[in-house]
Symmetry: C2
Subunit: 481 residues, 2 copies
């Protein structure tokens, strides 16, 4: 077979599929933009060669789409499309796509400009996309049954770079919708779903439903940022986490709060993590379950004859110092409320006790984690950033909000469990290896791929047998023997 | 009565309520932090003087709370509290509050640190709070029935500075919750509601439900930004809007799209505004109702034998120029998709036609509005900002996203209706006039008020009759004759 460089762009050219594959070993996607009537046989061949197919072409029958997708699924491959206008795989734009930086937001979309709008907004907000996978406009119909959608979600679940997935489509057929939603719930990532035209359902499990493409992008960005903050914080103390994990006794949460609503919120989020527990506040405990405790020191029982804990740190200092003799505590959650009415320097008031506890534990070759958020602003007298700094210098992990600090705590407790990590088999080579594309059809698609450091070879496809369909069918049958 | 300046802070001091009122005519809030047993009679007097009450004190009986709140309501006044820890009125922090810039997000909160966390996060995100109104922890109980909550919502609805309201509380009593939600729905503002501990319900009407305080703040900021963008854009063309309004024939929407999903989204949002219309796409019309049309020029019927409209602007240019002879169109909505595969300069391709139409209308002393969004990024070859600039120079109003551009269109159509604006009577002086506070109790609260340009007088309260309750009651009865 002849391979030659396309003169204008220096992209290698082949005149046959086999030639293209030989010139680009490890090719993992074929980008197909040929007349619809020829798609079936071409993609059938592509799948035979264990290559995924991105089918830009339309005018493919739904029966052919079904056959191709079922074949792909059985071989652990993906057919994106038909009528798939847009894709971004490992940062490489495919067909009609925008230049979008890499990040931790994955996208699965039925159509083209939906993916373009969402990925562009994400990029303009300063965030990035791991992969955007197009599944074509009919994938979620009853006939096709969501084959590519489910496999695309599976791929993104296994992708370490992806933390949150945006799913964009028209409302699926009822039976397919249930499958898709069950798949969402089984994934260990957050999902933002938009079924265009359908009013958003209430949030459930890991799924947030939205009404507009803009909101899909914005919610994904918020989730991405929240998760990143908590993940970074956890990573920053991974050695201490290991030490705590190795001490089987240390598995409990203590929370010492001066703000009642903040204590309440922390308790609510921890109860959600632990599973349904009745909401009850007794004796100042917002949470008191299985050794996990969240205490509101502003409760009447702690404030008789003394100022409020937002002013007077004494009761919390005592609680912190009592940790010296507690053996079962892994993590301590605190709030630090500043502003008018509050102590001039709450952080400064607490850090001596915190450092004392940390050091006492270190003497016994133990670790204990203190986590806090500061409630206030730069313009407050106590100065937000100054309070954060003091806490951090004392070894406290400071998150931006009470919700993030509490999320850190529950994710830490989860990490401390002695559970085997699911070993996910690496099914997809498309995402886990460098992109190697065989471009079949419109030459213009090659340029973008090469520009973004994907390897590409142009296969200048022409209909077999001069376009004579009877002859083509005959040849195809002959080839399959 | 004696008025003297407090020596340390130069805040005027009075020894009686009447004295304080005389020294601070137009006083609109009394900040009450005295022992709970005296609150009823003091606040009763305050309400008699037509002054709102911020009751920091706790240990007030629920019967007294009910009586005071019902009296306040009947006089068009507000009782904030009891046990109200936090407030921000017109930028002035009351009691335990943070320094938060002014903006268009209002807050109603049952408790203290809930308001503090939400307002602080809003501030740290660079946005601001119009007013934060505390209602106390029992306001939403069955006994109290949400009197202050409903009046606080009413106040914020009438406040021109407030565009979105965050509502923070524990789950209210069932009957009260229904009243509060009905009130939300009746308001012409967006609501973000958190009933702490209760999983968020699905979005309905103008209400978004959230699970955490952080999310309450972040969603409010998103809504605030969205609404601000659309409002600013509308304001920037207010004269043209007037001209269009004066031509009764011009009331219709035209949308000319190259992206199918974007056309679909625009149609969905406009249908939502117009009221339920069936979802049907026929002949390339995503919307074809009552003279309003959204056309997807990528539909097969427009692309036979010609390139896709994302590449070839011809069909859209023709549609735009056809507006010259259309008499009923007020506004034209466009998408402008860039990136790989798209025209090198779609904006440049359309603006001549756009300017031609605008000028032809001007010749007839008419206006017509063109609204667009650009789908793409700075890194795209066509360069996002460059496309935006070209469109704007041609007189097109450019919004950030398809959802915002469509929102502009529906708000414009609403503005063009010949409906009388509801004249809301100015019920609340607390928000519409400068803050003048009588601080009754803890002196430290005065300093913050003065620092933030509120006028304040300190009333050094002491129990009447030396604290003898029987004598107090007697005196109170005598005074009421």
């Amino acid at each position: 077979d002849l391979s030659a460089k396309s003169s204008s762009t220096n992209i290698p050219v082949s005149r046959s599929l086999d030639g293209a594959i030989n010139s680009l070993p490890g090719a993992n996607i074929a980008l197909v933009s040929i007349p619809g009537e020829y798609v079936y046989s071409e993609v059938d061949r592509i799948l035979d060669k264990n290559i995924n197919a991105f089918v830009f072409s339309d005018n493919v029958s739904i029966e052919d789409e079904k056959k191709l997708k079922e074949k792909a699924h059985s071989k652990g491959l993906l057919v994106m499309g038909p009528d798939c206008g847009t894709g971004i795989i490992s940062g490489v734009p495919l067909a009609f796509a925008n230049v979008v930086g890499k990040g931790n937001i994955g996208i699965v979309g039925a159509s083209g400009t939906g993916i373009q709008e969402v990925s562009s907004i994400i990029a303009r907000l300063g965030k990035g996309v791991s992969h955007a996978i197009g599944i074509g406009g009919r994938d979620l119909s009853k006939e096709i049954g969501g084959v590519s959608a489910l496999d695309a979600l599976d791929i993104l679940e296994r992708d370490e770079d992806t933390d949150v997935v945006v799913f964009i489509s028209k409302p699926p057929a009822e039976s397919v919708k249930n499958k898709v939603i069950e798949k969402f719930k089984s994934m260990n990532k957050k999902i933002v779903a938009i079924f265009l035209g359908e009013k958003p359902e209430k949030e459930e499990a890991n799924i947030k439903y939205v009404w507009t493409l803009e909101d899909a992008a914005r919610q994904a960005v918020l989730i991405s940022e929240f998760e990143s903050q908590v993940s970074s914080a956890l990573k920053s103390v991974s050695e201490k986490v290991e030490t705590i994990k190795n001490n089987e006794k240390q598995r409990k949460i203590q929370g010492y709060f001066c703000g009642g609503t903040l204590a309440g919120e922390a308790a609510i989020l921890i109860k959600e993590y632990l599973g349904k527990i009745e909401n009850n506040k007794s004796d100042g405990f917002m949470l008191n379950y299985d050794g996990h405790q969240i205490i509101d020191f502003g409760d009447d029982m702690y404030t008789k004859g003394r100022p409020h804990p937002m002013i007077d740190p004494t009761t919390r200092i005592n609680a912190i110092e009592s940790l010296i003799t507690k053996e079962d505590v892994a993590v301590v959650l605190l709030d630090n409320v500043i502003g008018y009415g509050s102590n001039d320097d709450m952080a400064g008031s607490l850090i001596d006790s915190i450092e004392k506890v940390i050091n006492k534990k270190k003497e016994k070759r133990q670790e204990i984690l203190f986590v806090a958020s500061v409630c206030g602003t730069e313009e407050d007298i106590q100065v937000y950033s100054s309070q954060v700094e003091k806490l951090e210098e004392a070894g406290v992990i400071v998150l931006e909000t009470n919700a993030q600090a509490t999320s850190f705590v529950t994710r830490l407790i989860e990490k401390l469990k002695n559970e085997k990590q699911d070993v996910k088999d690496k099914k997809s080579t498309m995402l886990t290896e460098d992109l190697k594309v065989i471009n079949i059809g419109l030459e213009s698609f090659s340029g973008a791929i090469k520009k973004h450091e994907g390897e590409v070879i142009q296969y200048n496809w022409a209909p077999v047998a001069g376009g004579d369909k009877k002859l083509q069918n005959l040849l195809a049958k002959l080839n399959s023997f």
